[in-house]
């Protein structure tokens, strides 16, 4: 009967997570966390011992942006910009449109991007629609009359009896 998971404690430490076999892969989160904690504490102590401890507050390094206003802040879309740029053509079917007015025209130039997220469409939107669609169809079963529910019971009974009748 089905293979059991390796029991706790069969790894090198009692906290080890072992997927198949200790020789193949081990993950020991508490030990790693413990070592990270030790390492950070050691670093903290040693650095504070050895180094100059003075700290000064100063203005940010403002090359070209003397005024730290909200407009200059990084936003989610600015953060995603390199990603969009890199994957735009392949993953998002991005289409850029640039409307550049002729010289002398005072209208501003316009730039627009249309991004289609194929992954979203294929892996989220389509199955989502399928699930909702199917559930709408099945939902009819919530609104049947009692007689029809009895029919369901009866049909199940007769099917099972027929199976019993034909099998030996």
């Amino acid at each position: 009967m089905g293979g059991a998971l390796p029991g706790p404690g069969s790894g090198p430490t009692p906290f080890s997570l072992i997927a198949f076999d200790a020789a193949r892969s081990v993950y020991d989160a508490p030990v790693i966390a413990f070592f990270v904690a030790i390492a950070s504490l050691t670093t903290l102590i040693v650095v504070h011992r050895l180094s100059e401890r003075r700290t000064r507050r100063g203005p940010a390094w403002d090359c070209g942006f003397p005024d730290p206003s909200p407009a200059t802040q990084y936003t989610a879309s600015s953060f995603a910009q390199p990603l969009r740029r890199v994957y735009g053509a392949a993953a998002f079917a991005a289409q850029e449109t640039v409307v550049m007015p002729p010289p002398g025209d005072m209208r501003p130039a316009r730039f627009s991007v249309v991004v289609v997220d194929h992954l979203w469409r294929v892996f989220y939107a389509a199955p989502g629609r399928a699930v909702i669609g199917l559930s709408e169809r099945l939902n009819v079963l919530q609104f049947l009359t009692i007689r029809r529910y009895l029919v369901l019971m009866f049909v199940t009974l007769v099917i099972l009896l027929s199976i019993a009748a034909v099998t030996t």
Binding site: R54, G58, W61, G64, F79
Partner: protein
């Protein structure tokens, strides 16, 4: 039993200290090799140590508006990288800590350090930090999957994702040169270049606004914080060199059962290989130009493609490995 544990613990501690001590030397070697190839005198080999010492002595300037995250991130980044470096077998494969995590966990620990760095980069709110963080993350989306593909290839080949196990496997079969492993090697080299912000992905020696990635993130740091970040990046370089050595040139590494003499040989071999790797990196960096940021996907993408092909081949020839 207890004595064993103590020895193991000491060996582990020795490795952690060693990696920490030797990492700046590797960086010094890279810089020196580059300078000599450019017919410059170049800094002394120990310049990286001196830089760190100097930074530690300077006072830290913290931008107004920086939060606690900004101040605590360097310590955590350093600690995470250090622990990650300790996870990679260097001179011996049977150290205690190698058991605690496999290469998947290693990637995750490095990923945590990277995420912290990106957050710290954006903490002050200047545009440079943001540019650096977003670009770093963009590179990560390419490098990390490639890294995982390499892991899978190795796991198929050696039957384990534990680095020590993989190393033991290659020690046992030193001349098992196979196409899929060669592809993995190329792939891992590319990933290592990208992760360590080396040419052609990034240039560690410049602060050009348009192209910098790593340096843009740490622009606000100074004094002891900068020293920690620098030390972390040195460690990361040593880590990736060790990883390459451990996976593709493990000869000389002491197996799990080796005694002190085995460890001594392993240590010497490791240092020699590490420095040789640093020399090779220097030669590589001189002979190639920095890429435009948005050409990077093509370059790192090679790693992904090679990693993928390597997996397919590994699956096809699994009969050989089994």
């Amino acid at each position: 039993m207890t004595r064993d544990l103590v020895v193991q613990f000491l060996a582990q501690g020795a490795q952690m200290t060693l990696v920490l001590l030797i990492a700046p030397l590797a960086v010094g070697v890279v810089r020196r090799v580059k300078a000599r190839l450019m017919r410059r005198q170049g800094p002394p080999l120990l310049q990286a140590y001196l830089d760190l010492a100097k930074l530690l002595r300077k006072e830290s300037v913290i931008a107004e508006g920086a939060s606690w995250l900004f101040r605590s991130a360097p310590y955590l980044i350093f600690a995470l990288t250090w622990v990650a470096a300790a996870l990679v077998p260097s001179f011996a494969s049977g150290l205690m800590f190698n058991w605690a995590a496999d290469v998947v966990a290693l990637v995750a620990v490095l990923g945590a350090a990277r995420a912290l760095l990106a957050l710290a980069g954006m903490d002050v709110g200047t545009s440079f930090g943001g540019i650096g963080s977003s670009r770093e993350m963009m590179i990560a989306t390419l490098a990390e999957p490639a890294m995982m593909l390499i892991v899978v290839t190795l796991a198929i080949a050696a039957g384990t994702t534990r680095l020590a196990g993989v190393a033991d496997f290659f020690i046992a079969e030193p001349f098992a040169v196979r196409v899929s492993l060669a592809l993995s090697l190329i792939s891992l080299v590319i990933v290592a270049l990208a992760e360590n912000a080396r040419i052609p992905v990034d240039n560690p020696a410049t602060h050009l606004e348009l192209t910098m990635v790593h340096e843009a993130m740490v622009l606000e740091y100074s004094g002891r914080h900068l020293a920690l970040i620098e030390a972390a990046s040195h460690l990361k370089l040593a880590l990736y060199l060790s990883l390459l050595i451990c996976l593709f040139a493990p000869f000389g590494m002491a197996p799990a059962t080796a005694g002190l003499s085995g460890w001594a040989i392993g240590l010497a071999a490791w240092i020699a290989k590490l420095l040789a790797g640093a020399v090779l990196l220097g030669v590589w960096e001189v002979s190639i130009a920095k890429m435009r940021v948005f050409r990077l996907p093509d370059f790192v993408g090679i790693a992904f493609v090679f990693g993928f092909i390597a997996i397919l081949l590994a699956f096809l020839t699994r009969g050989v490995f089994a």
